[in-house]
């Protein structure tokens, strides 16, 4: 086997050989069976590959329409995905805040309704000397209180000796 011939075939390929190189190879392969086999294989390779690349699938007329439709669909999916991802990031914080607010509201209502009567603020009707005196004006003459009664009401009753208790 002639290594030079083999190297020529492998390095340059059948299509890359010059006329002189082809002539050299063809002369040599008349005598060398192994190089003939290598040369035949190289020729077959070139023919087969040429036939393969000649087979082409043509682009369809509405291919660009389908590409644009796919792009638009992808955009709308991405927008949905962005909102979804944002929500996934913030939902623990938002949920915790809502839970605190709800707990505070519930606690407030519970505390209000559970307050005891003694704790309820009691505001007795207050009356003052002025009220007594002013209300006196509504009463008839016989019902009006006299001065002694006024003093008794404000300062307390006097003893028999006219002294306050």
């Amino acid at each position: 086997m002639d290594q030079h011939v083999l190297r020529l075939i492998t390095e340059k390929g059948i299509n890359g050989l010059s006329e002189s190189e082809l002539a050299l190879i063809q002369t040599h392969t008349e005598e060398c069976r192994e190089c003939l086999r290598a040369y035949q294989a190289a020729r077959l390779m070139a023919t087969i590959l040429k036939a393969r690349v000649n087979e082409t699938v043509e682009s369809t007329p509405f291919f660009h329409t389908r590409v644009m439709a796919t792009l638009r669909e992808r955009h709308s999916n991405e927008e949905t995905t962005i909102f979804y991802r944002l929500w996934r990031m913030v939902w623990p914080t938002v949920s915790a805040m809502l839970a605190v607010i709800i707990a505070l509201l519930i606690g407030n209502f519970i505390l209000r309704f559970q307050a005891s009567p003694s704790e309820q603020s009691y505001t007795p009707d207050s009356y003052t000397v002025e009220t007594l005196i002013l209300e006196e004006g509504d009463a008839t003459a016989s019902e009006q209180i006299n001065d002694n009664e006024v003093f008794s009401a404000v300062f307390g009753p006097e003893d028999e000796n006219g002294q306050d208790y």
């Binding site: 035949q40 087969i48 087979e55 699938v57 644009m68």
Partner: protein, 205 residues
């Protein structure tokens, strides 16, 4: 003067598309879908799969449109994305061969025989012969790696230069050369074994 869309330069279309102009990007798709389909067709044959991958190319291009700096052509940029998408698809689709080279059909065996003897394959139309050859190519590729397939397809099949292949794949030119050398050697070995087995079959029959 208002320019029609098909007269607008690629760079203007790209900046309009980056600004959100859908019509500008639709025009980019219309202009370069034939090129992208051609590249994807190099590696896949099913029309639905080719269209699906071509769509992936443009969706990826849209996502990275702002990365296009305008230094090379938009066509070249899209071609690189298409090559990358195809390579990834080839790698993820890597599976056991459904049929091996030993299971050649009668048509494939006839084609091989005729090709070796430089005669014509009788009984088949030209289009059928091309289909047989393309089927053979797919069977052969299953014996090689994805990188081998890419470099052989572009250089041996498409006739691209090492430099052009390096630009498409993003590899260095040195890597392309080494990969090409190894790929040719591997494919040649596979074909030699196939020819030997065919010769033995003919001797037995």
């Amino acid at each position: 003067m208002v320019l029609k869309t098909d007269q607008v330069a690629d760079s203007i279309l790209v900046s309009q598309a980056c600004a959100g102009d859908e019509d500008a990007f639709a025009e980019i798709v219309r202009r370069y879908s034939p090129r992208v389909f051609r590249i994807v067709s190099r590696f896949f044959r099913r029309p639905t799969l080719v269209e699906e991958l071509a769509q992936d190319v443009f969706l990826k291009a849209y996502t990275h449109l702002s990365d296009y700096e305008g230094r090379g052509s938009l066509e070249g940029w899209l071609s690189r994305i298409a090559t990358s998408v195809c390579l990834n698809a080839l790698r993820s689709a890597r599976q056991r061969p459904e049929s091996s080279l030993a299971d050649l059909t009668e048509a494939e065996a006839k084609w091989l025989e005729a090709s070796l003897s430089n005669s014509t394959v009788k009984g088949y139309q030209d289009a059928e012969k091309d289909l047989i050859a393309a089927d053979l190519a797919d069977k052969l590729f299953r014996e090689l790696s994805e990188d081998d397939r890419v470099v052989l397809t572009f250089i041996e099949g498409d006739g691209l230069s090492v430099k052009e292949t390096a630009t498409l794949t993003g590899w260095s030119q040195a890597k392309v050369k080494v990969q090409l050398f190894r790929a040719r050697r591997r494919m040649r070995k596979v074909l030699e074994e196939l020819l030997d087995s065919q010769a033995q079959r003919l001797v037995k029959s």
